[in-house]
Assembly symmetry: C2
């Protein structure tokens, strides 16, 4: 049996946007918080991983969203490490409301970074064993985010701020989500809600870097937007999101 | 007896800076969250206030910090509405660690905004009664933050982002704190820790506004920095912070 772990969370006002729903960036913070508690409960917390000269990095999120939790709502976040291969581990998260409905599913892909050579490390058996995830020889082939249109696109610049770096000594990955989405502009964001998403992380951004966030509508399906974050010629992060138009309130 | 209210909170990794301590902005989010629960428990939650055509606004914070809570630490946040006069209410917050030490004290000054005329409203007796705060005729005279040096100062610009606006439909006041502090630059911030602070809010910033954050060292006491946030000629927020130099780690 795979080790399942869950925690309840109450959605506070400061986690929510103007539509009273949790932001995608805050949702990711809550999920990773639960996965860190899960690892600690299995004796595989940050300290254990660090002692081996390694740290987990997140390479990818896949979001499937029926509805986002609302302000003051209590949710249960369940998580399970489903599968691993020699380089990657896959973890599923389920956000469940008080009536037992699964309202959000997120899959995260992790890899291990070797502190000495800054390269990806093979995943040691003893590190993943307690999660009881399935070993699979093959690496998952997942759809990549589409590229941003080269002619018609939105573009915004951001500077990495001092407080964007969290206690893990890296730019907290929720900030990438803010940069990705903010470029769409508020007239779009205030009338649409995200229902699916793929984010891939290629290369970490560093303090003081000026980054460029571009987005465009997909030319294949107009319900999707495509996104890229770059600095100079370096690609840091790509994403695609699917949207539905919000109904006017009180309309 | 004044109504005292408390809640426990666990400090998560995403709330902390690179020194593993909660950021001042996240601390403020946690405090206000507790005060909202307090009000709701007394039947004076947001819905009650809104029904009267009013909403609470925060005019000022006074911080007194022995040490900031650390990542994974469990803290108790206690709060009590201490005093009110015809225009303002004062609320104290105490952050207490598991050993019972009071590590942070914050006083917040609130006022009521009338939704119709966008002006400050007299505080109705029935709104504040359940808190059992003391009525005082006189308005507190509190030290104002000092002005920023006009010759030598740091300066940074920020654009208000879509997700800076929270479920209360205003720029979440923790973002002002990020703008205030970020202007000091990372070489200062990474070697200093805040021990006292005063923040006053003058005029709200709005979406898309370009704001300017300036800071300088006080010419009266070099342990203090002074701050102002403006847009064009409008002053939005002022602050002064007192700092101690962090000892080098492992030194």
């Amino acid at each position: 049996m795979k080790e399942r772990y869950s925690r309840n969370k109450v959605i506070s006002y400061y986690m929510c946007d103007r539509h009273q729903r949790v932001t995608l960036s805050m949702l990711v913070n809550l999920l990773i918080d639960v996965s860190e508690h899960h690892s600690k409960a299995l004796g595989r917390g940050e300290a254990y991983v660090k002692e081996k000269g390694l740290s987990w990095i997140i390479l990818r999120y896949d979001f499937d969203i029926k509805r986002l939790p609302k302000v003051n709502e209590t949710i249960k976040i369940e998580t399970v490490a489903t599968e691993y291969n020699k380089l990657f581990t896959y973890r599923d998260f389920y956000v469940v409301d008080l009536e037992g409905n699964e309202i959000v599913k997120v899959t995260a892909t992790f890899a291990l970074l070797n502190h000495d050579n800054r390269k990806m490390a093979r995943i040691p058996q003893e590190l993943v064993e307690p999660y009881q995830a399935k070993f699979s020889k093959s690496i998952r082939r997942l759809t990549k985010p589409q590229g941003v249109d080269s002619v018609v696109f939105n573009e915004k610049q951001y500077e990495v701020r001092y407080f964007d770096i969290d206690s893990n000594q890296h730019v907290n990955n929720s900030h990438y989500i803010t940069w990705l989405l903010d470029s769409l502009g508020s007239s779009f964001l205030s009338h649409h809600e995200v229902t699916q998403g793929i984010i891939t992380f290629d290369k970490e951004v560093n303090e003081h870097q000026l980054i460029n966030s571009q987005s465009s509508f997909s030319d294949v399906d107009e319900n999707w937007t495509n996104h890229v974050i770059t600095s100079d010629a370096v690609k840091h992060c790509q994403a695609s999101f699917k949207w539905i138009r919000l109904e006017e309130e009180g309309g």
